[in-house]
Each structure stands twice: as structure tokens, then as C-alpha cells.
């Protein structure tokens, strides 16, 4: 096992990407993810791989389209406004069935917002963002180790299903120094062949075309059916989650990424004060681990969703727990609650649930 080393989350992402076989990185500076292109600018050439600072996020995502279409493992990294700019390109990548990995280091929004941590781009990553019926696989790391592990997992999933995979993280996880086990050199990995790639025919008896245009409605309908069938397979096979202290739990907190870290501290405080609280942490935000959440959420007295947003993952939790009491606590604009503040909210939410005054899905205005 490799030694522990102290890394920033954004640094861990770079090693994770390179060790996961990333062959091309295209990106544009934006805070709070600037360490990623900075590190990639020397780390990629060190292993003979392509790095280019693009003129915009629009160019970045289209460079990825080209490199991925040519059969290479390609990645970009950005933050909220930059990810917004990539949306058209992501839709094309989904439509053309290309694998790619995108790191989204969320900051405060809407608009220019600020550079503080936020989770307000859940909808953007999980529910689409670009046009058309498509999904991205979305992974949500919660520490430096997962910031290292997830890019490799993302490349594997992207290649397996030929679709974009987003690692959805935030300004805290990107900037925080933590220990993580990271090998000094890239491990040997197996990359699947890509017989569909448009990399020059090289004697092949047919041409390969990378395309998302299907002018005939029936043909586009069939193409969409194929994508939907793939998404159904992913929903069946790729859901990942993490639970803490749920076996004896009477109340549950659902949170992902940095929120889950804060929540875990708050839960331990609540347990010291006698309230048996557990943590449910989705690791894949899409596909959302609804059944695993329901299994716990249906036997506790209530669930508190905690996010750094106005309530986005909340919708998926409510869909997973119909008729069950679901409470919400959120902070926006880059404000982080302390664990003790969250602990107070857990007590208040649990009290409302026990008193039967909590809102349930069928009573909630959607």
C-alpha cells in the first residue's frame, strides 16, 4: 500500500487522473480549481501526454470531444460558470456517445457569485444542464482519498458506458490539505479498445463517424431509446453510497461531499447528546441510490437533507422517501455551518419529525 502523503484535493485529482490513464487535459483558469490546470501543465508532459490551456471552457470541452472521439482518455476541470459554458459541448458528447471526465469544483452562484464553497450545481450535473434527454454519471468525493480515486473510477465508467462522467466537488475539498494514499508513479492499468474511434482509418474497411445528428425522427428516437436503455442499466448496476452509524439510528442525515463531512461531525455530537443519528452519503449522485436510502429512511423517524444549496439533492431524497418526513437545512453563498450549528438543526428537525409536523412528499409544494 502506498504511503500517506499530504495533498490538496485539487492536487489529488490530478494524480488520480494521470494514474487513471488520462491522455489529454484541456482547461481554462477559474477559481477555485486553478491548481488542476497548473499541476496538469507539468504532470501531463512528464508522461508524454497532452496538456493545453484552451482559450475558453467552450474550446476546452470541444477539444475533449476531438480527443475523446479520436479514442483518447480526455478530461477537463472547471468551476461553476465555466461548467455552464461547457453545457452545449457536454450534450454533444452525450449525443455522440463519447467518454470523458469532467471535474466540477463548485463555487457560489448564481452568476459570478463568488469563489467560496457551494453545492448549488447539483441540478446542473445530475439533472442535465445541457439540452436533450441525457444523463451524466456523477461522482461525489468527500475527502482527498476519493479526490484521488474518483477520476480513475470516472474514466473506467466513462469508457464502459461511453458517456460523460462528472466528479462533482467543491471549493473546500479542492483546497483542503489531507492525507491520502497515492502511489509515486502511475500504476499499470488496462484501457479497453475503442474500435469506434475516428482516429484515421489505418486500413479499416469502414469509416468511423463521431456524430450526434440524426435528422430522421424515427432514427433519433431509436438513438434516444438506446441511450435510455444504457441509463437504465447504469441505474441497476452503478449506484454507490456510504453509510455511517445507521444500524441503531432513529434519525438520518442525508448529505454528500463536504456537507457529509460536516454532517458526520454533527452526528457524533448529537449522539453524545443522546440522539441516535446516522449518515447516508450518496457517492453516485446519478444514478441516485434511492433504494439504499429508502431502506434506511423508511425505518427511521425522519431524514434531514443538508446541502450547501437551496435544496437540490433534496428533490431526489423526497422521491426516494415518498410519504416519509423529510426535513431540509441548507446554506448558500459560500457560508458553511459549524458542526455544532448543524447539530442544533438536527435536533430541531428530529423534533418536528417526532411531533408529526414535518413535511412529507405528498404535502410538499413541488
Amino acid at each position: 500500500m502506498p504511503d500517506l502523503r499530504l495533498v490538496k484535493g485539487n492536487e489529488a485529482i490530478c494524480y488520480g487522473a494521470v494514474h487513471g490513464g488520462c491522455e489529454a487535459f484541456f482547461g481554462y483558469p477559474i477559481t477555485p480549481q486553478n491548481e488542476v490546470p497548473e499541476i496538469m501543465s507539468w504532470l501531463m508532459p512528464k508522461y508524454g501526454r497532452a496538456f493545453l490551456q484552451a482559450e475558453s471552457e467552450i474550446a476546452s470541452i470541444n477539444m475533449i470531444y476531438g480527443a475523446s472521439g479520436a479514442g483518447k482518455r480526455a478530461m477537463s476541470s472547471s468551476s461553476s460558470p465555466g461548467i455552464s459554458l461547457m453545457m452545449e459541448g457536454i450534450s454533444y458528447i452525450a449525443g455522440a456517445e463519447l467518454p470523458c471526465v469532467l471535474i466540477s469544483v463548485q463555487r457560489g452562484g448564481p452568476g459570478l457569485g463568488n469563489i467560496a464553497p457551494s453545492q448549488s450545481d447539483y441540478f446542473q450535473a445530475v439533472k442535465g444542464g445541457g439540452h436533450g434527454d441525457y444523463n451524466n454519471i456523477v461522482l461525489a468525493p468527500w475527502n482527498a482519498q476519493e479526490m484521488y480515486d474518483h477520476p480513475r473510477i470516472a474514466f473506467e465508467l466513462a469508457d464502459k458506458y461511453r458517456m460523460p462522467v462528472i466528479v462533482l466537488t467543491d471549493a473546500v475539498l479542492g483546497s483542503m490539505l489531507e492525507p491520502a494514499r497515492i502511489p509515486d508513479e502511475p500504476p499499470e492499468i488496462e484501457v479497453p479498445g475503442k474500435p469506434w474511434a475516428a482516429c484515421g482509418r489505418g486500413g479499416r474497411d469502414h469509416k468511423n463517424v463521431i456524430n450526434s445528428l440524426y435528422l430522421e425522427p424515427e432514427v433519433l428516437s431509436d438513438h434516444n431509446d438506446k441511450l435510455q436503455a444504457r441509463y437504465a442499466t447504469i441505474r441497476e448496476q452503478e449506484k454507490k453510497w456510504d453509510t455511517r452509524l445507521v444500524d441503531d439510528a432513529e434519525f438520518l442525515v442525508a448529505a454528500y461531499g463536504i456537507s457529509a463531512r460536516i454532517a458526520f461531525s454533527a452526528i457524533k455530537m448529537a449522539r453524545e447528546r443522546g440522539l441516535k443519528v446516522g449518515l447516508f452519503r450518496p457517492v453516485t449522485l446519478w444514478p441516485f441510490p434511492s433504494e439504499a436510502l429508502a431502506e434506511i429512511g423508511n425505518r427511521v423517524n425522519g431524514t434531514l437533507v443538508f446541502e450547501l444549496s437551496g435544496g437540490q439533492m433534496l428533490e431526489d431524497v423526497r422521491l426516494a422517501l415518498p410519504g416519509r418526513p423529510v426535513e431540509f437545512f441548507g446554506k448558500m453563498g459560500g457560508v458553511l455551518p459549524s458542526p455544532s450549528e448543524l447539530c442544533e438543526e438536527i435536533f430541531k428537525a428530529a423534533e418536528r419529525c417526532n411531533a408529526g409536523s414535518s413535511s412529507r412528499t405528498n404535502q410538499v409544494r413541488v
Binding site: A24, I58, S60, C199
Partner: protein
């Protein structure tokens, strides 16, 4: 009549291998078919068929992936140069070209065009300038001539309102990353031969690793111009070439050691 032996028969004109044997969807009098053929001739002539990746645009030539027999990628509107960059940076030994119209290259994709040229990206662009958005129904393009009618400039392009047309060759010629830049109207057999000459240099600029290359073809769009094909050709020769002078704008390919001045 003396009898002709089979070994005496020589093929002097044929469809290039890189061009698909299928009917095009283009309108009568449109230049796309000619330009497709010229591009395909280059791929054959340089023996690039097995190592070419074409990037085709959004616009009238959006279906060009059906017409080229090499590997092809369909780019989003204006982003073909970025897609080409992504390919060329990961497969530097391949021949990578984009085929783009004026709305694609000079309007929505202007940023990608300029930055790809500025980086001296070793890709080749075949640029169709017909001064109009053909596919979407004849709207004004950045290259539409002053006074030219379009569906979004029904009284004729008013440059007080829109600014004057953009001359891409002049615009790009200041960038040191550009290895070859030329413009030619596709209006006569003589001009097609000149086009071949220019396009050969634009291919060489890439395969010799010299930098960015672009050939702009002044093309006809008789349907959206409201002309018959003959009038459209005449219009290019008499009017369009006045605004967009043909010739070589940058030539670092010829090996004469210095940039050649604008030819005309």
C-alpha cells in the same frame, strides 16, 4: 477505326477515393460539391486516406460526414477548430482538417478560429465563404456584402447598423502561427486549378509541421442569393472578389524564406 487494346486505355478522370459515391443534398449551382471534390483530391494525392480525420461543421455541409470516406467528426456550431486541436494534440501524425462555412468560422466560431490560428495549430481549414446562412434560410452572415439582401437584412446589409463584412484572410494574416493563408473563387476551371495549387500548400503546411493553414473558397449560393447559377458565378467574379481579393495572403510553405505579399 483502329481497334483499341485494353492496355492502351488509361483513366484520366475519376471520383477520388476519399469522396463517397452517393448523391449530394446540395442545391443546384452550389459550390460545396466542387469544394468537396477538391478536398478529396488532396487526400488522395498526398496518400492521406488512412490517416485523415475530417471535422465537418454545422451549416449546409453538416451532412458532409456522408460524403467524405475518411474518418469524420461532426462538430458543434463553430467549434471545429477546437475539435481539430483535440485530435491533433493527441494524434500528431494524423492529417486533420476542418471544413467550415462563413457563419460557422467567422461568426459563432470566430474565437476558436483565431485562437487555433494564433497557436499555430498544425491543422488545415477549408473555408467556404458564400456570404450567407444557407442552411437556415438565407440570413445575414458576417461576410454578407454591403447592401446585399438577406432574410435578416431585407433592405440590404446596412453597415452603419451591422459593421462592414469581415475579411478573414486579412484578419488572420497578422498571426505568426499562420503558415499558409489563401483565397480563391471557385468560378472557373482556371480558378479550380489555382485552388488545387493553394490547397496543396495548405496540406503541406500541416504535414511539414509548419503551422496553421487555411484556404478560403469564394462560393456560390444561387438559391439564397436569388440568382441562377450562371449569375451567381458572375456575381462572385465581378463583385465578391472586389471585397474579398483572391490570392495568397501568407505563404511560409514555398520555401522562399520570406512571407509572400498579398498577390492581388
Amino acid at each position: 477505326m483502329p481497334e483499341v487494346q485494353a492496355e492502351q486505355i488509361k483513366c484520366v478522370f475519376d471520383r477520388p477515393r476519399a469522396l463517397a459515391d452517393r448523391p449530394h443534398h446540395y442545391c443546384p449551382g452550389c459550390s460545396h460539391g466542387i469544394f468537396h471534390r477538391l478536398v478529396a483530391e488532396m487526400i488522395d494525392e498526398f496518400g492521406l486516406f488512412d490517416k485523415t480525420i475530417a471535422i465537418v461543421p454545422v451549416g449546409c455541409s453538416v451532412l458532409a460526414f456522408n460524403y467524405f470516406e475518411c474518418d469524420v467528426m461532426e462538430a458543434s456550431h463553430g467549434r471545429a477548430p477546437a475539435v481539430a486541436t483535440g485530435i491533433k494534440r493527441t494524434l500528431p501524425d494524423r492529417f486533420v482538417f476542418t471544413y467550415q462555412g462563413d457563419g460557422d468560422l467567422a461568426s459563432i466560431g470566430m474565437s476558436e478560429t483565431i485562437h487555433t490560428a494564433a497557436r499555430g495549430e498544425k491543422v488545415t481549414i477549408f473555408f467556404v465563404n458564400n456570404g450567407i446562412y444557407g442552411m437556415t434560410g438565407g440570413q445575414m452572415a458576417p461576410t454578407t456584402l454591403e447592401g446585399q439582401k438577406s432574410t435578416t437584412s431585407p433592405a440590404g446589409r446596412d453597415i452603419a447598423l451591422t459593421g462592414p463584412p469581415i475579411d478573414m484572410c486579412t484578419l488572420l494574416s497578422s498571426l505568426p502561427g499562420v503558415a499558409y493563408l489563401a483565397r480563391i473563387p471557385l468560378t472557373s476551371p482556371k480558378n479550380l486549378n489555382t485552388a488545387r495549387k493553394y490547397m496543396r500548400k495548405a496540406v503541406r503546411a500541416q504535414i511539414e509541421g509548419l503551422g496553421f493553414a487555411l484556404v478560403e473558397a469564394l462560393c456560390a449560393c444561387p438559391v439564397q442569393w436569388g440568382m441562377d447559377p450562371k449569375q451567381a458565378i458572375k456575381h462572385i467574379d465581378e463583385n465578391v472578389t472586389k471585397v474579398y481579393p483572391p490570392g495568397e495572403y501568407v505563404d511560409r510553405v514555398s520555401g522562399n524564406g520570406k512571407d509572400k505579399a498579398k498577390a492581388s
